[in-house]
């Protein structure tokens, strides 16, 4: 059974703090994703990684960076948290292209920046 685990369900951080969101998957997936979900805006892709140390910007990378030093772990970093980064953050993973490679999601991290 595929498992994608996000390190925290809820986080409250102060403006200006550096924030780390961690995601681990146990299915040897090549691809990993970070999305944020906001009301009326759906799921927006922040960053995507298709291999260790490889990353691609998504639609809204500003204010974020990522790290993928190991295949199973993908970290999202908020360099200096701001209130407009208050959101639900969702990590996902999938196999490389080839047939029914649906993405599996973690349970989400609700981040509040005060």
């Amino acid at each position: 059974d595929v498992k994608v685990t996000q390190s925290s369900r809820y986080l409250v951080k102060r403006t200006g703090e550096k924030v780390f969101l961690e995601c681990v998957q146990d299915m040897d997936h090549e691809n990993m994703f970070w999305y944020r979900q906001d009301p009326g805006l759906g799921l927006r892709l922040i960053y995507f990684s298709y291999d260790v140390k490889m990353k691609e910007k998504g639609d809204i990378p500003e204010g974020y960076s990522v790290s993928r030093e190991k295949k199973e772990r993908f970290s999202l970093i908020l360099e200096s948290a701001s209130t407009n980064q208050t959101s639900m953050y969702l990590c996902a993973s999938s196999f490389h292209t080839g047939g029914a490679s649906e993405a599996f999601f973690g349970q989400g991290t609700r981040l509040t920046v005060v």
Binding site: L45, G58, H96, A100, R110
Partner: protein, 111 residues
């Protein structure tokens, strides 16, 4: 510019009737389309998918239809059940494996 659009933010359907959720896309390079279901405070769960070379895929009560010429897909749920009440996201995969999601449709199934 949104590449995947779900123009109906909400849909209300009576139990036992058909629910039809719609999705439009703009990028003809998308090769795979997926539907996800999401409950509050949980991650999305995969529901059903369809390859761009097919026009229909069925799994139990769920059927997805793809009209490539219109760049349109739809999810049919028959019969609808109260447990189907959730937010449904349409997603499309591009040739770099990125998954692009729509804005979601909140489905409410009432008795």
């Amino acid at each position: 510019d949104q590449q995947v659009k779900q123009n109906s933010p909400s849909l209300s359907v009576q139990e036992g009737r058909i629910s039809i959720l719609n999705c439009d896309y703009t990028n003809s390079m998308f090769d795979y389309f997926l539907w996800y279901k999401k409950y509050p405070a949980e991650g999305p769960t995969f529901l059903i998918s369809i390859s761009s070379i097919k026009d229909k895929n069925e799994d139990g009560r769920f059927t997805v239809f793809l009209n490539k010429s219109a760049k349109h897909l739809s999810l049919h749920i028959v019969p609808s059940q109260p447990g189907d009440s959730a937010v449904y996201f349409c997603a499309a995969r591009d040739d770099t494996d990125k998954l692009i999601f729509g804005t979601g449709t909140r489905l409410q199934v009432f008795p």
